[in-house]
Symmetry: C2
């Protein structure tokens, strides 16, 4: 069926279903490929983790990047799961680094591995964290494998895999900055935007869109497409940070306290500290260092974010970035209906509740 | 110069020098590529880590795998560093998992990162471990990048990168088994050989040899070459375990206590427990659980390994595996002088003192 006859919601839903099928097929093959019982169990746990959640935004963007320049074909769904597997890898390591026990409303990978392999053993948590580092590394191998086996022309695969590798690399620099941000007293808005660009925008939007376009073999200039991804990616992260503080715990799949308890210097916090009076700023600073905030402390933080105008600032900046991204989108070459879906997704990204 | 006119020692030494040059070139480009100060510092630390040690065995095997079927060319040196970068990544994560502070006689990655970025901060060690997880992930990206940029035909690059990804994957299953082995009371010789096959043989020998052969574009069957790598790889690890217990601390670059303190169930330990009397076996079992052994306890372990015949068993098995590997080598297609160097390297691997 031609996508032009479907609404954006239906197109995105049908892509999601096909991505999920590709993920299942990939893991079916991985499980069949090995006779070893331990490896099979490890694969199964990474499979459950990957199948168990996520909006599949990144593979959807990769498919759309491809569809801008090329008609639909099966290979792109198989290739698109590479970025979802990379996402599994990043989340697994992220949770080990942050010592977060919950992800998408379910146990994070090190908790699953602790239960499956070392429950009751001495130092079971730290052993499980070691296992989770390895599980993340495995998911990264799977990401490259899924892409390299997707059947596209070798020349395009080499370029797309370089883009994947670059995407993972940039995310790493972002992750580095993110970890260090909690120890930096002078971490400011500029640092934060750089962080969002590296840690979120590259692997959520720019990288997937570029990988898709590269696989299509297009000779069009994809600079505007990359810019679109970068700018919208920052807006996406601002929205994530807003949900992290004001969202509904059940919908977002993690504790609303967790960003504060991890000491995350979001734009909401940075501006509230900048614009609040000295006592208020010190209070927020103290809370971000302390972890384990009480309900009262948490409510006071939220009130300060509202009262200082920091909340409105984030909302406004997000709106401006989305407008800017639409300007870039207008300059993107390729299929007009696909561009309409991208436009629709831009609005979805900043209006979503999870 | 044709390698036929050089001795194996000279060929290996000249390869090592060219590998080191390729590593320098790679990191020069990485450092130039980014204007960001933090990223530059991170790249520099991974560079120092990679440049600072290692026998470059894996890239040497990769080059020889290539040279079996193809004349020397610059691209293969650039491609070969991919497996050395993968080695950096594995060692970095390995040391985080084992909480080892020393590698190759120098601080391990998390210690370097602690000193460079978070010295004096609260929870500096655990923050640095998080940074080291990311540094390992970056080194893995670099591994793929080095290979994909090496300039070979895309078709061969795709196959070689799949082999790299498979190699990293197998090492992951091996790492998993290695971590769990410390908690398994019934971990036996069969499990151990499987562990050595996955965690050592694949990424030290089989993978690099296969990657090199693949890049040459050879249409010869490389099954015997893979078998050679697998069998010799197990012998290599047996030698490593012997050095880990009986080697000279200064030469091997880590504490001779560390294998015992990490609870490593090497073949030396397994056979000493199997053949020692009940008290002796229980003593070894206890020491492997305990960690932090005293000098007296350590000497008693070594004596038991000798007295039970376990040491001789490892030495004999190693010899048999090397003989077997030479049988496979005889069946390998390709250049005869390169095969002579491989033969010489087989002997070196089991006679080395570090």
């Amino acid at each position: 069926m031609q996508i032009e006859s479907q609404s954006p919601t239906d197109v995105v839903a049908s892509y999601k279903a096909k991505i999920d099928e590709s993920i299942s097929r990939f893991f079916d093959r991985k499980e069949e490929e090995t006779k070893d019982v331990l490896s099979k169990r490890v694969i199964k746990i990474i499979r459950d983790y990957t199948e168990g959640g996520g909006k599949r935004l990144r593979p959807i963007f990769m498919i759309l990047g491809y569809r801008l320049f090329s008609p639909e074909e099966k290979g792109i769904f198989d290739a698109s799961i590479s970025i979802e597997l990379a996402q599994s890898y990043l989340l697994i390591h992220d949770d080990v680094i942050d010592k977060s026990d919950v992800r998408r409303g379910k146990p994070s990978m090190h908790i699953r591995l602790e239960d499956a392999f070392v429950a009751g053993c001495p130092q079971s948590r730290s052993t499980a964290e070691g296992l989770a580092i390895v599980a993340g590394d495995l998911a990264e191998s799977y990401a490259h494998e899924a892409l390299l086996r997707s059947g596209f022309y070798s020349e395009n695969l080499v370029k797309a895999d370089l883009e994947l590798s670059k995407t993972i690399e940039m995310t790493g620099y972002g992750q580095f900055l993110d970890i260090l941000s909690t120890t930096m007293d002078d971490f400011n808005e500029g640092d934060l935007i750089r962080l969002h660009l590296w840690k979120t925008a590259k692997y959520t939007l720019e990288g997937p869109l570029a990988m898709g376009a590269i696989l299509s073999g297009t000779e069009y200039d994809i600079t505007a497409l990359r810019e679109y991804g970068r700018v919208l990616g920052i807006a996406f992260q601002l929205k994530d940070d807003i949900l992290g503080l004001f969202g509904d715990e059940k919908t977002i799949g993690k504790s609303v306290y967790s960003d504060v308890n991890e000491g995350k210097k979001t734009l909401l916090m940075i501006k509230a500290m900048e614009w609040g009076d000295r006592d208020d700023a010190n209070f927020i600073r103290k809370m971000l260092r302390k972890g384990n905030v009480t309900n009262e402390e948490f409510e006071r933080i939220k009130k300060l974010v509202m009262d200082t105008g920091s909340y409105d600032y984030s909302i406004n900046l997000m709106g401006k970035l989305v407008d800017k991204s639409k300007e870039y989108l207008a300059k993107v070459s390729g299929d007009n209906y696909v561009k309409k879906i991208l436009d629709w997704l831009s609005d979805y990204l900043i209006s979503r509740d999870h």
